[in-house]
Symmetry: C2
Subunit: 558 residues, 2 copies
């Protein structure tokens, strides 16, 4: 057995002898062998095993019991512990000790995002098996940039891409049979996160418009300034709801379009892109003496702040009429398609030219699983790159059409998760989130101290503390007084959110909705994705907010 033989012989010649008799740890060739292949001793193996068992099956009990986002002061203390900027020459600690410190000392200072009281962000509990799958992916160490470092993982990834593509676009068996394993077809691609997925979609849209032809080598080769010149254009714009994620601005900046040309379209009273405003914007852009190309319109399926879904069908129709690339940012809302009950909330997503979905959000995967899908399996040819040492033309290499090169087989995790959960398993999670958010909204409405600001469409809602006396005063206030009262409201909400966070038991986030003539509206924002978050826990969180409010601001006006 070849494998066995080299393992015993590879290290026969030590490059550095250990020499010293002290207990100081010394890096030498024998130690290195142990580090590479196996624990250094039976005792070390046992210790490691104990910790790994705890991590793999221990219900996260190594985490802080509560949410544990600390106050500023203790953040400073924490910072003081991590101020040594020198890499130690010899090993600083044995492996088992490093793991011990991680579990016993570092992990308790991490944020327990898996707590059902952590309802402030889109990062939450993940099923324990996701950790097992991530472990397998790390052990296999495949690199999806090319077939030669991934083989079956590339083939499997194409299958997973087709499954999600089908979830979105629902084309025929014949379509998928043709494209699923065809090297020239690209149904989508994995990237690190939603930002890079949006960037990829807009990169493709940009290049699809400024195509090579008539002596022009294309924008990818000649650059933006040359493209504008060739096409007789003064600027490009991309239209997106004012609630679009800031990664769209960032993409505009990176791509040389300019983030100032990512134009906000106002939302209506339901926080969805106002179609009249969209039409007016298109009309006014067309009338602009500057020649302006509308590169794309972006619809959001689950805005970061309010979880609302833009009217995708209507946007699609407008894009088709005006021949504009239609991108849907479904980083958050995409997996809602798995729920029979609620998938109609995303009606029209199948009309999009491109769709972003994040696996580490509502597919409940570990971090690092952004995805972008394209209706046309050939459109990614507009961003293809080849190289002699990798990604040669005609190969199955997935790195050819991708903004990133080397990357892990996250698709193997998603593919396995789909088998373990089934669409119905995911649907239970999606339905629970949406329905719990609705109960949450009802609970807010029942409590006089609170105002529901944006009702949940998916599983995100915003609300604020809005005491009765301020409400009353606002009714009869002049503009100056109104501003003053609004500032007071902001201060109250910022304070309560901060104090609750610092108490460390629960966490809701806050944001500023830019909606009123009287100034910005600071709101508390919650995301219900943890299946263990139930209405009892939500009541506890609201109780605590009430308590903090009355402690800090007295009980005037209730």
């Amino acid at each position: 057995m070849l494998l066995k033989s080299y393992k015993s012989n590879a290290f026969k010649e030590p490059l550095v002898s250990s020499g010293k008799k002290s207990t100081e740890l010394i890096a030498n060739w024998q130690t290195l062998q142990r580090i590479f292949l196996q624990p250094e001793s039976e005792a070390s193996r046992t210790a490691l095993f104990k910790y790994m068992e705890q991590i793999l099956f221990g219900l996260n009990d190594f985490l802080n019991e509560h949410v544990g986002i600390t106050e500023e002061a203790s953040l400073l203390d924490l910072s003081d512990r991590f101020k040594n900027s020198r890499i130690s020459k010899n090993p600083a600690k044995k492996l088992a000790d490093v793991i011990k410190v991680l579990i016993e000392d570092i992990a308790p200072h991490a944020v327990n995002v898996s707590s059902p009281y952590f309802i402030g962000h889109m990062t939450s509990a993940i099923p324990f098996f996701m950790v097992h799958l991530q472990t397998i992916v790390a052990a296999l160490n495949q690199n999806l940039v090319k077939l030669e470092t991934s083989k079956v993982a590339s083939v499997l990834e194409r299958q997973v891409l087709a499954k999600i593509h089908r979830l979105i676009y629902d084309y025929s068996d014949a379509f998928y049979d043709h494209h699923i394993q065809r090297p020239e077809s690209t149904l989508g691609t994995f990237v690190e996160d939603g930002t890079l997925a949006n960037l990829t979609a807009l990169w493709v849209a940009r290049n699809s418009f400024f195509k090579p032809g008539n002596g022009f080598a294309g924008v990818e080769k000649e650059g933006m300034a040359a493209a504008y010149k060739t096409f007789g254009i003064d600027r490009c714009v991309i239209l997106v709801s004012q609630l679009g994620h800031h990664s769209l601005q960032k993409s505009g900046g990176v791509l040389g379009i300019g983030n100032g040309n990512i134009l906000s379209i106002d939302v209506d009273h339901t926080n969805r892109m106002d179609i009249k405003k969209l039409l007016a914007a298109i009309k006014s852009i067309k009338a602009d003496p500057r020649k302006t190309k509308i590169l794309a319109v972006v619809g959001i399926a689950g805005t970061t702040e309010t979880g609302t879904v833009d009217p995708l069908e209507e946007i699609a129709e407008i894009c088709a009429e005006n021949r504009i690339h239609f991108h849907v940012d479904a980083a958050w809302g995409g997996p809602t398609l798995l729920s029979e009950k609620y998938k109609s909330l995303l009606s029209g997503i199948n009309l999009a030219d491109s769709v972003t979905i994040d696996g580490h959000k509502q597919f409940y995967m570990p971090m690092g699983c952004g995805m972008v899908y394209f209706k046309d399996p050939a459109i990614m040819d507009n961003i293809a790159y080849y190289a002699a040492y990798v990604n040669r033309p005609g190969s199955v290499d997935l790195g050819i059409r991708s903004i990133v090169g080397s990357r892990a087989a996250m698709s193997l995790i998603l593919g396995s998760a789909l088998e373990i959960m089934g669409s119905m398993g995911y649907a239970l999670l999606i339905d629970h989130g949406i329905e719990t958010a609705r109960s949450f909204a009802d609970e807010i409405k029942r409590r006089p101290l609170f105002e529901l600001v944006t009702a949940p469409e998916l599983n995100i809602l915003t609300y604020r503390i809005f005491p009765y006396d301020i409400k009353k005063e606002l009714n009869s206030a002049n503009l100056k007084k109104k501003k003053e009262l609004n500032n007071k409201l902001s201060y109250i909400n910022i304070t309560v959110q901060r104090l609750q966070r610092e108490a460390g038991k629960s966490f809701v986030s806050r944001t500023t909705l830019n909606k009123t003539a009287n100034g910005n509206k600071v709101v508390l924002r919650t995301v219900i994705m943890n299946p263990m978050t139930n209405i009892d826990i939500i009541r506890e969180i609201l109780d605590e907010q009430e308590k903090i409010y009355y402690n800090q601001f007295g009980n005037s006006g209730t």
Copy 2:
């Protein structure tokens, strides 16, 4: 104990009852609870445990015994197995069965990149503890985009960034004490891979030049065409050795510069950027009637194809004189700085304005650990983005200055690895790679069938099969005949590389070096980073190549 209590109660109300008596798997609320929190039964836990033990401590014995990159035909067979594009409604398999299939059926069709016979790419064996660390990172599920989802992990990441920054730039204690935990300072950032690291560096360089001022809002806001207009520039270019990675072209394309404006500077006979050619290029660009801004010069520290290091000190001097951003792509070579013996090979890297290093290359980390570092801790302000719901100004949020948003705590793995290995531990690996590559080169020189094409400077070398009869013929051939013979040589090398790969025991890669007047030169390329790859294994690989050659092409001319 709050944590314990919600765990037992959260799922008390099933949303979907299981109903059916059949053995079909059904997604219901109880199943979901088990899936989220713990294995469904003791038997399942035991089965999982067995597999996880094998993954964590089993010396990769679940992998294909050999390298296992298969021939085309079996790739087609493999593709046929992954053609179902439908997500099953109910769970397709139990968790333990999914893991079983992964380990027993999928893993054997993966590429065994950890084999010491796999010396063709920059993906290789990683120490077993890296898998443990990745498991912990997945279990903690921290999101580094913001402090509220990462806390200690953000603080720890800043420390790791400072350690690598110090390895490169070696500034004073005072410098690091000041910047290491200062929210306003950015010493570097983690991204998915070297491509995104290079893209980030050039994005920063672009924005640093086309800064806001005099009524111009900056290139990030106004876009490339407006920037060129404002600065009176016709085009931007970036200069890079002809052996630069194609991610630099891709970055030029993405950023709106145009990949045609990433200009190749020829290398000298040692495969390093030819300084005379660089100076000539700068001179000719300055004389060009088109107003051209040289945005950056990129030096490579470890080219992908030959592992050579550009003359960094000389390039730095030229950049300083001409006030050009100097970027070093040390994705491969960076960790050579950990070797006392060989770090001088990278002399001048401390003069770079920005440096790319990949953790998943010579830091032997799992996939997904690109990094980019900057000399000036304020320069990343040129790409900062803020949002109301996250990354507010003045916060510690690491997502503010980053091309990516949500991402995993890969820094926790690197930080731990530095403690476990010490710089000397890494130095042993680096030294072994370089010295084994040198022995490899000597072995090639000893064998008459082969020609060493590029000698190893770091741990990469290229060579080719160059039979004596062809060598002799070439000496007296006319141009036409020379081309013919070169094509024959290419065909021989392509064939031998392919047949060796398909035999599945060993793997070297191939590339085409564009160096001769007589056409392209196809070479075999090897990367020595696996500490278990020794000269005996290398001899076996060469023996096999000789055998394949003689089988296929006879033994004429030797």
